[in-house]
């Protein structure tokens, strides 16, 4: 889906790292040799995005470019190329549902349907209260626990329509739902419990 940068009226006039983030930024820059500080552009953009309610205004890109002494257009190129940088404001909970083949085979369409009906929005939209933004993403690398979705930094896996709704419901109430598989299994262990090496798991 084409990403559209926020219009000028939504863009803040300026951006500056908080003192804590500035210290982190300097740590990132210090990882690279002198005059190669531009290599730190991606972690710095991520840092800026985290500071700016999960989106990256142009002012932040400019601030990063100036900090790294690189032409601004080079930063715009990076920020627009990588889809994990959000160029427009997103909801407090940024819901990314995977619909790539393994998740799709395991029922991601149901999860998508549940999210859409629960939140009352389509892909690429934000709820009126600004709490949720829903988007469709390609594989997030958790195929063993398909289907899955990522909300901000957390993965919610082994979803069904019901469990996906429950996660969203909990978030809407301000609770912190359990992260990871939602069907009770631990990490990516076999769904019906271990089939081998029972001696080590203690549940024979």
């Amino acid at each position: 889906m084409k990403r559209v940068p926020a219009p000028p009226e939504q863009q803040p006039d300026s951006f500056a790292f908080t003192p804590e983030n500035l210290a982190v930024a300097k740590q990132h820059i210090a990882k690279y040799p002198p005059r190669r500080q531009a290599s730190a552009v991606m972690p710095l953009l991520d840092l800026a995005q985290r500071q700016q309610q999960n989106w990256l205004p142009r002012a932040a890109m400019d601030a990063v470019a100036d900090m790294l002494e690189m032409p601004r257009i080079r930063v715009y190129e990076v920020a627009t190329f990588y889809t994990m940088y959000n160029l427009a404001p997103v909801g407090e909970h940024f819901v990314q549902v995977c619909t790539t083949t393994p998740c799709w085979l395991r029922g991601s369409e149901d999860v998508v349907g549940a999210c859409k009906s629960k939140l009352g929005i389509d892909f690429g939209e934000t709820t009126a209260d600004g709490k949720f933004t829903l988007i469709e993403v390609e594989c997030l690398g958790a195929c063993v626990n398909a289907p899955m979705m990522q909300i901000n930094d957390d993965y919610y896996e082994d979803l069904t329509a019901e469990s996906a709704s429950a996660v969203l419901e909990a978030l809407a109430k301000g609770e912190k739902p359990k992260v990871g598989p939602q069907n009770g299994r631990r990490a990516s262990e076999p769904a019906g419990g271990p089939t081998t090496l029972h001696a080590y798991t203690g549940d024979n």
């Binding site: 084409k2 990403r3 601004r72 257009i73 715009y76 889809t83």
Partner: protein, 701 residues
Amino acid sequence: MPTLTIDGQEITVEANTTVLQACEELGIEIPRFCYHDRLSIAGNCRMCLVEMEKSPKPIASCAMPVGEGMVIRTNSPIAEKARKGAMEFLLINHPLDCPICDQGGECDLQDQAVAYGRGASRFDEHKRAVKDKYLGPLIATTMTRCIHCTRCVRFATEIAGVEELGATFRGEETEIGTYIEEALTSELSGNLVDVCPVGALTNQAYAFSARPWELRKTESIDVHDAVGCNIRIDCRGTEVMRILPRLHEDINEEWLSDRSRYAVDGLALQRLDQPYVRVDGKLKPASWDAAFAAIQARLDAIGRNEAGAVKGERIAAIAGDMADVEAMLALKELFTALGSPNLDCRQDGAKIGGKHRGGYLFNSTIAGIEDADALLLVGCNPRWEATLVNARIRKRWLAGGFPIGVIGGVAGAGVDLTYKYDYLGAGPATLAEIAGGNHHFAKLLAAAERPMIVVGSGALARDDGAVLMDLARRVAQDTGMISADWNGFNVLHRAASRVGGLDIGFLPGEAGRDVAGILDGAGKGEIDLVWLLGADEIDMAALGQAFVVYQGHHGDAGAHRADVILPGAAYTEKDATWVNTEGRAQIGRRAAFPPGEAREDWTILRAFSAVIGQPLPYDNLQQLRQHMVAEVPSLGAIDAVAAGDMGAFGVAGGVGTEPFESPVGDYYLANAICRASAVMAECSRLFTGVGRAGGATGTDG
């Protein structure tokens, strides 16, 4: 030196050559879009695929270095099929709107589609469309046509030195642009139109006005600055439609500055197309005879001396910045015949000229900048004064190991010249310090093998100019800039007429007045008649009560002040010689006729000389040229640079404290043609203060 076989022919080439370059050496043409021999290699269009033996896939010849024993086939079925495939993919998202595209007829994609395109498209999916981008008033964009070759991005980054263009987003959504929708701050932006292989970037000023096959092409010389860029003037009928650069490796390579390219509309506006005579304070149209009679009457009114001749000391002539050598020679000889020593071709008052030609030339030559290994810029902002010299400095700087020192000419250390430099100081004191030899940059120059110094008019066009000249010469001599095979002493001129004028000695004769003296004399009533040959950049108010004859092509400052206007020809309308800042004589060709009753300038002077009974000894251009070459042999050596002799030019003395300022107030409004151009006015409005040394001028909108 690897040897490889291309289409059955063996060739040995330098190591590091690419397969594509090796093919070109054999005269085999490889189709390409992204490859450009002056830009870095991108290898993203895939049009140059060729078959290489032992390679499972066709290779991109532009990016593949040659190897020993390679066997390349450029026209095998595999290569052919690969190119057809690449073309089909390129055309998937290309709109095929050739009938309404300005690139039509000179489009690489169009031409190559004839050779490699399919008759019909197999693609019936959604075709992408891209919103047009804003790149400033000079470039029209139709980004749907873009094939993402990134030539423009590489040009802006590498040659122009403004990193403002990029490829944003990814995959099918990739877009070329500035992302922030602001005009490119480059005075080389017009070249983006030339490097674009499709119709994505086209010439805004020329939009929808002509097709390339309708145009009559004339090879000529640019006069907007003293670089002497080689240009091609494209005309339809009598109208100049556009100006394009022409390849000259030693001057402009294949680039052209925006002023030279886009001031074209100024050639049709504000033109003087018939003689005028001031009657009762108002300029009235007149015939040539009446105009000449008015001048003659004025000459008679000045009175005669005891010998019965015109009082030569009471008349004067000033040549402007775009005057050709032929006209200046005719004017000089006319005034010499009238007994006047008051001649000057240095409107800005630069303290240069004299018998040592090396003292006013760009001796290192423009191409020679690439051989230099240290540079000191004194009182000049080459970006605005000689854009393509600046591009050459940047090219040398990019190659590395080229320290650049700057004294004045730019407003401060922060001015962007497209390369990094060491801002040493603002004025003469710094130059004196370097001449003293203890300055760190003096030591750096002395340690360099081929150092060079460039003195701009910011240092020369001032009262202590001659002293500064002496200082600069001493710096050159003391730091070993002048040797048998290298001359690092350079004067950077801004006016196309300047070196030619100095060569023919369009300078004050014995007891003659220079420009300041002429203006002073006119103000005091000691000069009764001033003949301005296209001179618009002097203080007209200072001319006082003098009778002013303005011979030129545009109704600018000079024409407003004039008492008689003699309409001349612009540079596109005459066969004439100009000498660039290197001392290279070049001939410009007439592309169109002057408008109305306007005439080529030397013929006007020849006609007037007959009216006053002192006819100049030439009746046609050939005779004039023969005479000119007999007077100054270097003018006969077209496109050649002879080493200028060095001597003890400049005078020792004390210097002022005023900082050097670049005399270019506004790059886009530097001469009468630009000031008549609406396109240049728009540029001036937009770019005011951008990288400019002198700040805003009174002409800014």
